[in-house]
């Protein structure tokens, strides 16, 4: 079907449709909205995207993305360098930071070991993690990986790799989420929650 707008607008719609959560129809709506708010939104968005493209780098220390290398988390002297939180993706790091419960440093693996997807240890940022621990100063490594078979396999693999070093490896608890109703939980989560029950 021929586009109803000029090629520039069609190109904008096509690119927006590639974003997560947007299909062709919603991309059209988003494009129309941007065009209507040309000065307030389209211009600043374009500028922000250009700047981001030019300045965003991956932190050579932890694998986080930021506009400086090392990233703002790694260069923050107030953070506790003795605790290292290992996460699969930058999205997981952002989730933990949103929770505001940690004042530790992070390490982003860039995924989890996955035989089906062909992701092996060499495809992940594991070597740098071992180097960081080997450099000293780290007392605890919190493996904040997903509660999936791939995530837990990765956690065990890393624990094994770090076993020669004097570092405590811990993982996140598995159980009932805050606000969760038992009736809606799967049997596996309930069993894990019961197994790691605590005294009141």
């Amino acid at each position: 079907m021929a586009g109803v707008a000029g090629p520039e607008i069609e190109r904008l719609i096509q690119l927006l449709a590639r974003l997560p959560g947007l299909g062709p129809r919603s991309a059209r709506r988003a494009a129309l909205h941007l065009i209507r708010k040309r000065e307030e939104l389209l211009g600043p968005l374009g500028d922000a995207m250009r700047v981001a493209r030019e300045r965003i780098v991956t932190c050579s220390s932890c694998g986080n993305i930021d506009t400086s290398n090392p990233c703002s988390l790694c260069s923050d002297a107030r953070r506790d360098g003795a605790t290292l939180v290992v996460v699969e993706t930058v999205g997981d790091l952002w989730a933990l930071e949103r929770a505001q419960v940690l004042n530790a440093r992070y390490h982003v693996l860039g995924g989890a070991l996955s035989p089906l997807d062909g992701v092996g240890p060499d495809d992940l940022n594991i070597g740098a993690l071992v180097s960081r621990v080997a450099a000293g100063g780290v007392k605890e490594v919190i493996l904040a990986v997903n509660a999936t078979v791939d995530g837990q396999t990765t956690a065990h693999y890393i624990t094994e790799l770090l076993s020669p070093y004097e570092v405590k490896c811990t993982r996140l608890a598995h159980g009932v989420p805050v606000g969760g109703e038992l009736d809606y939980l799967d049997e596996g989560t309930l069993a894990a929650a019961l197994k790691s029950r605590t005294d009141l």
Partner: protein, 267 residues
Amino acid sequence: MAGTDPRIKSGDGHGGFNISASQEGRGGGGSMEWSERALVLGVKKHGETSVILEVMTREHGRHVGVVRSGRSKSMQPVLQPGNEVAVTWRARLEEHIGAFTVEPFTLRTHLLMADVRALHGVNWLAALLRLLPEREPHQNLFEMAAALLAHLGDPLAPNLFVRFELAVLSELGFGLDLQKCAATGATDDLIYVSPKSGRAVSREAGAPWAEKLLPLPAFLRGDLKTPASPDDLRAALRLTGYFLDRDIFAPRGLKQPDSRATYIATL
């Protein structure tokens, strides 16, 4: 935690299930549909909300299909390797990837996560089943895999793995003959396996070539109740590993899965 899907009836209680599978279209049009109990081998993300699920079934072998909303909070715990599920596969044509609807049957991922050896075991089992061609029934391997998954945390599991690898070799046309001596036909005192023929060799016949022959642990010729020491198990896994490498992995340009080595290291 076993589910009660009416389409799947409990059989002999040890992996044997009566399966009502329908290859005929419902309401005409020639669409494909079948229902089976399945072992989850893995999932791949597909789009934003769906996944491509890989399962092992008794009648349809290793099979993949799309699970819509497979990344939802309720489906994610179900679609983990090692779980048993009841699936219904539908497609317009047989050659299409098709779509699965999935109901939980036996969820055991939480048990696997608590046991490092079991966790490596489930990855190893999935890697072995991935050696099979898709959509080709291997009923014996399905039954063995189901039994193995149910006993992954048991001391018996390594012994089951050895026998499972022997069965994989056999199903793929590279079975070992461990019942009689390749040279003399003797059935006693078989302590070697020829690396060339994959056949057992007796102590007497093999003596001149003992260094070149592979050791055959005695428990492999007995049943599951025959005790096996960790050394016996390692020797047996070296034996199956040799033939898996030579006949299956190397010709396909593959290397043994890391999970196999990590599992063996835990013995």
